[in-house]
């Protein structure tokens, strides 16, 4: 059921990323997403970056027209929210490596929060274009996670891709699970690296979404539908799908190759 709610809080997380909080009572778990409707513009899928209690939140990176429009939304603005949809991260592993790139941290942060609350140890490899864009760095640190960063421009931490940090951590430390969200090419690299140590890896995937009800086929990924079967999948399942990290579909259903990073 769709609800129209007024935004109660707006936080600029990074220069290009904003968190919106709003009252939304249906229970949700880390990994799930909502369809966020900006009246007069569009309705787009957004992971819940705050899943607890009555006030949920999403954290939006400016990507295109709608996510840019969202940047300028302030308290009081009414938005439509339906969901939550999709599955969840399994919170039971004891030692978890989180690998997040770009806005990927939005879905990983509440998962880390919940895992730590259950007693797990969490290490975060966080990547961004530059230091200022490291999303939820303080939030991860604040919850007691060990955080290692990488920036494309070397303005902080490892100079280069976050996959490099992840590969190093996987080589030196032991983990019971890896959780990752970000560009598919990045997630594939992480999954391949984790395979060496046989660490179960889970990826949160994005596809174009319309219905979010498992009907319209917009979010098809091989035999899967991301909206109802995902967005969280075991990496083994994804690596077996030829199109994973190679192409996705645009709004018309056409195949579009991913740019290489």
């Amino acid at each position: 059921m769709r609800r129209v709610v007024g935004v109660t809080e707006r936080v600029l997380e990074t220069p290009s990323t904003v968190t919106l909080r709003f009252p939304f009572s249906p229970p949700a778990v880390p990994g799930q997403f909502v369809m966020l409707w900006i009246p007069g513009d569009d309705e787009i899928p957004m992971s819940l970056s705050f899943t607890d209690g009555e006030t949920k939140g999403v954290t939006v990176k400016a990507m295109g027209t709608t996510s840019a429009a969202i940047q300028s939304i302030g308290p009081g603005t009414p938005v439509g929210v339906r969901g939550p949809y999709g599955n969840r991260f399994d919170l039971s592993p004891r030692r978890i490596l989180i690998v997040g790139g770009g806005s990927g941290a939005a879905v990983l942060a509440p998962a880390a929060d919940a895992a730590i609350a259950r007693g797990s140890r969490v290490t975060v490899a966080l990547g961004a274009t530059e230091a200022a864009e490291l999303l939820f760095r303080r939030r991860f640190e604040g919850m007691g996670a060990r955080v290692e960063v990488a920036t494309d421009d070397g303005s902080e931490g490892t100079h280069g891709f976050v996959t490099v940090v992840a590969e190093r951590l996987l080589a030196t430390d032991s983990f019971d699970a890896v959780w990752t969200c970000g560009p598919e090419v990045m997630m594939r690299k992480v999954a391949v690296a984790a395979r060496a140590s046989r660490t179960p890896t889970f990826c949160a995937v994005e596809r174009h979404m319309k219905c979010a009800l498992g009907m319209c086929d917009a979010c098809a990924l091989g035999p899967l539908h991301v909206c109802v079967d995902g967005p969280v999948f075991p990496a083994e399942q994804l690596l077996a799908i030829p199109e994973f990290a190679r192409w996705h579909r645009d709004a018309s259903g056409r195949r579009v190759e991913f740019g290489h990073r």
Binding site: G80, C216, A220, S252
Partner: protein, 323 residues
């Protein structure tokens, strides 16, 4: 076990349950998945001449479990791109029916030729999408347009042509009769029923396109009425669509005159596994009623219904002499 295999004209189906157009129909793997899940055949998304993104979101509105409104706006990758999706479904062994939409007879004919070339078993003409300006109802609600489009398509392909009829009309049977005259091998009915949702807090329609089409259980009576009326009027086989979510729903459609049915919105309740359940339920219902096969149920409600109407005309009953 009742026999579920059925024939729609020359088209043989392993069971009467087809995946409706627009559901799981953009990717070949999804079509193959629906086939693997037990569908008797799969109908593609309606494909047009070139890629269309469709309308912006919101494109759907749900009403509990009994209805859904959508205005997808006929998103599709276009006939140049789509054959490779069909190829995936055909490779999986699926019986594939290719759905096309267009603005005029000529466009339909061109699309039909190209769709037929992919190796699909039949074509369905979407003459009835209620929410795309210049397409759908605008071409599908005038019998002479329907006849012309069907004839143009039938002339250029050898596979069976199914005309999909809109419920947004005063006389669905007249549209079906026009399709029959045009040479259609079958008709399918119905597409979605024109509808609108409004959000009072936002003071605007919910769907970005405003008008949409209602589907799901709410429209089952509407679809049954159309199939009933069409059965009384034409001789070509009918495929029933609209609100089917149980085996008994399907049996109602068969008895109203359908030889096969399409299933769309029900996929949102528990997923594609619905096909396996529908097959099981229909088989059980036929068994309970002592009907040996799905085909034997086709049109069964017409003889009894007619008898009733004759026996008790309104004039007869219960008017006392004035007091």
């Amino acid at each position: 076990m009742a026999e579920l295999a059925t024939r729609v004209g020359t088209l043989s189906l392993r069971n009467p349950f087809l995946l409706a157009s627009g559901i799981w129909g953009e990717s070949g793997e999804s079509l193959a998945g629906a086939w693997g899940a037990g569908a008797g055949g799969v109908i593609t998304k309606s494909i047009g001449t070139s890629a269309r993104a469709g309308f912006p979101n919101p494109t759907v509105e749900q009403y509990g479990k009994w209805g859904m409104l959508n205005a997808m706006g006929l998103p599709n990758p276009g006939i140049d791109e789509y054959p490779r999706e069909i190829e995936v479904a055909l490779r999986a062994g699926a019986t594939v029916i290719g759905s096309i939409f267009g603005g005029a007879a000529e466009e339909f004919a061109t699309l039909a030729r190209r769709m037929a070339a992919t190796g699909v078993a039949a074509l369905e003409l979407n003459l009835s999408c209620p929410h795309a300006e210049g397409y759908g109802t605008e071409v599908g609600s005038d019998p002479s347009d329907v006849e012309e489009i069907v004839r143009a398509v039938v002339e250029v392909v050898r596979i069976p042509v199914i005309a999909k009829i809109t419920p947004n009309t005063s006389d669905p049977a007249a549209l079906a009769a026009a399709a029959e005259r045009g040479g259609a091998a079958a008709v399918s009915a119905i597409n979605t029923v024109r509808g609108l949702a409004i959000d009072v807090r936002l003071r605007r329609p919910v769907l970005a396109h405003g008008l949409g089409g209602l589907s799901g259980p709410a429209i089952k009576p509407v679809g049954l009425a159309c199939v009933w009326q069409i059965y009384e009027r034409v001789r070509i086989p009918i495929i029933g669509v609209g609100g089917i979510s149980t085996g008994q729903d399907a049996l109602e459609y068969l008895m109203a005159g359908a030889r096969a049915v399409e299933v769309g919105t029900a996929v949102t309740q528990g997923g594609i596994r619905v096909f396996r359940r529908l097959v099981r339920q229909l088989s059980a219902s036929l068994g309970e009623l002592g009907i040996p096969s799905a085909e034997r149920a086709v049109g069964a409600a017409h003889s009894a219904g007619q008898a009733d109407l004759g026996a008790r005309s309104p004039a007869r009953a219960h008017i006392a002499k004035p007091a």
